[in-house]
Symmetry: C2
Subunit: 458 residues, 2 copies
């Protein structure tokens, strides 16, 4: 089919919604390294993880072999409230850039959580409910994950307790109200509610918080409360699995038009969107069937892939979680307060880290003023006000499209537009007022953080 | 086709986007009364309106006879960025209410303006650009119209100056930043920038503003500046015409499934959404081909249809605009500061006013705490956080569905979900904290306002 016939927006029909998630680990020759018990250094098995996670989610976390995992009917029905999400041909952006590149984006922002996070939130809440639990605890950074989980819990009638990174809690008071609309309890982190929170506050009074702190608090709150489990919006294998619905829909839509991407781009904080977007494509690449350039885009202020170490590290600041092997800046790393929005996690999904280590994935880092410049161009021509996180992918997509303009090559670029920026107007305001700065951690700062990486015992 | 096969969301294909707007005035036996020159009492003709409005928009304003008016290709292309909008079957709300009613809603919130306002904004900006103008001025209340116009102007490269009702400007600082992202200049109204603004401030220091004040300022700013015209987001015949795209898409989608609505519900401030949603259905009703119950829902704090007078009145507080025959609370009426969100205009579209007067339209008024209760129920089961304005329609739809539960009748209800509430979290917060009150104007207050209705001269 000719590209002339491709509509601005492609919505698949509800019956084309995937019936199975895609587990890219099945295609990996080198599997992601297992989670380790920080005390013993032994790999964490099913029983070790039960105090923290729901049973079915642990099975998904540990399953490195099953390529297709069925999506329960109840989750598919929830998905139908906002999925399939549109695949958009960025005709207006192409014209603005005067590029021969063909640009597509998969837009995940048309739901109240404002992002792709809802795809995993409903899955995790569903399995918790199915296990007869009372509630779940979690952390949230920019607030998208917390909102998503609140929505899923409200739908299923589960209690929801959210620890929100303090800087976001303060910058985004309205996010809190959205979560309250969905009945969630929201606490700024670090808080005095948990032992680990009190410890972090004692050591770092005045800290603006980090995802790592908030994770520690949420885990403590879950394990100390009967009938509760902890859920996480990124990083984990299970989350990438749930998010594969993004990539599967993208592939189905592109296949309809016979379009094959050359470059696939996604922003990467913990890796949930990127991991989900690329899953089926990466599967083809790993099996040697197709070749794609796949690019992770991260903030220069929190550059875990491009400047981190590939090592075992704690997933949280309080070191209450298992250790994961990943590209990491060190679990004590907290991005500069100048850094706006999400993508502030110190590590990266073990799956993506392994793929990057093995050369299947590229990574670039971008500075935030360049990111907001791209966001504004995009908003004006494509009509969507993008989230700061998503705008990292926009920046990289624009840069690739401009390279095409120089070389004259008609590359096909697909990127993940993970969400909308309606709750990020404080950051946009700073950008408009010229008050936004770029802070890039020095080598010395990173070395100091790496020096605290744990020794794997045993 | 059986209702079992109806998907959660129906997206028409881009080629099903209407090619013509639907002008319901062509079907009206009694046409809406003409705008009058306030000085002479004579009907305003094309030449009289030229200092204020674009030429092509005046033609549309005055055309009571042409049923189908072509949508220019450039506007259709812009529409493709966010249209066709979904028609949603509210399965989850039906289940929550345990009603035999079948509920559908046409969701207009999936664009950055957050509402249906973009449908007319792009049309008005397009005709201004086409006429070679430099820019446009307007007013905005809740901020949706101002955002929509900013987006349309950014897309076309037109200058955009927005007078924003002061109470909204203060309650919604982030709306201002969205408009700035799209390059608009935003001024809180009443301001010291215009003669009429200074006069209003002198008479009512400390006023929180009203749409009527902001309109006066925007009109003055347009006529006093070469190359500028004034554009308006509601009330006018031309706006209802552009918004008919909502009703046309709704009808096409329902017809696909052989579904015939019994009741059509829309919120009504100036009437843009309701007028657009009902246009083709009202056409059938006026021609005697079909019968529908059509219900306008307005706030009890600003009840122009249910408690207003059907009379000629000024469209603005400053009395710089033509007079329109409409249901009005008097051009000096300003709703209580407790009133959240939009739907705060003192009058109502002349088209809708005439239809209401002639018995083709019902009207109900609802109190805002009941509106937010409905909004929260809806958000939790349908996953969309609705705008306060849209939630008026939700309230009425729920009330009708609950009546069906009592009577056991399987009515089909269609309502307009005009937008999202992401920028209305201050109002939600008040609701959550129990600080929201319902203020209903007394008969005495309304009588005092009616006493100032103008005498039509000549």
């Amino acid at each position: 089919m000719t590209t002339e016939k491709i509509p601005y927006k492609t919505y698949l029909a509800e019956e084309e919604l995937p019936r199975t998630w895609y587990n890219v680990r099945a295609d990996m020759k080198v599997k992601p390294a297992p989670l380790l018990n920080p005390a013993t250094g032994a790999p964490m098995g099913f029983e070790d993880l039960r105090p923290v996670f729901c049973d079915e989610l642990i099975r998904q976390e540990l399953d490195n072999d099953t390529r297709e995992i069925p999506i329960p009917e109840e989750i598919r029905n929830f998905y139908k409230m906002y999925r399939p999400s549109p695949l958009v041909r960025a005709y207006c952006l192409e014209e603005q850039l005067q590029t021969p590149a063909k640009i597509y984006y998969k837009f995940e922002g048309n739901n109240t959580s404002g992002s792709h996070k809802l795809n995993s939130a409903i899955a995790q809440a569903y399995y918790a409910k199915n296990q007869g639990l009372t509630g779940v605890t979690t952390e949230t950074g920019a607030g998208q994950w917390g909102t998503a989980l609140s929505m899923a819990c409200a739908y299923l009638g589960l209690d929801c307790r959210v620890y929100m990174v303090k800087v976001s809690y303060e910058q985004k008071p309205f996010r809190r109200e959205v979560m309250r609309t969905y009945g969630a309890a929201v606490t700024p982190s670090p808080s005095m509610d948990t032992e680990v929170g009190r410890k972090i506050l004692a050591e770092h009074p005045g800290t603006t918080g980090s995802l790592g702190c908030a994770i520690s608090e949420a885990v403590e709150a879950a394990v100390s409360r009967p009938g509760y489990r902890y859920v996480l919006g990124s990083v984990l294998n299970q989350v990438l699995l749930h998010q594969s619905v993004i990539g599967l829909e993208t592939k189905t839509a592109l296949d309809k038009y016979g379009v094959q991407p050359d470059i696939i781009i996604g922003c990467a904080g913990g890796g949930s969107n990127l991991g989900g977007l690329i899953s089926p494509f990466m599967g083809e690449k790993l099996r040697g069937e197709k070749d794609y350039r796949i690019i992770a885009v991260e903030p220069a202020s929190c550059p875990s892939l491009t400047r981190g170490r590939f090592a075992y590290d704690f997933c949280d600041t309080g070191m209450v979680c298992p250790m994961a092997k990943m590209y990491t800046l060190g679990s004590g790393f907290i991005p500069s307060p100048n850094h706006a929005g999400g993508l502030r996690y110190h590590g990266m999904s073990s799956v993506l880290s392994q793929l990057y280590h093995d050369g299947y994935l590229e990574a670039v880092s971008v500075e935030q003023t360049k990111v907001f410049e791209a966001a504004e161009v995009f908003a004006r021509v494509e009509g969507i006000l993008p989230a700061p996180e998503s705008s990292h992918a926009i920046r990289a997509a624009i840069d690739e499209a401009l390279k095409c303009k120089e070389t004259g090559k008609e590359k096909t670029i697909v990127f993940g537009l993970t969400g909308t920026g309606y709750f990020d107007m404080v950051a946009y305001e700073k950008f408009h007022n010229g008050q936004m700065s770029d802070y890039i951690p020095t080598d010395g700062e990173l070395e100091a953080s790496f020096a605290k990486l744990p020794q794997v015992p045993g």
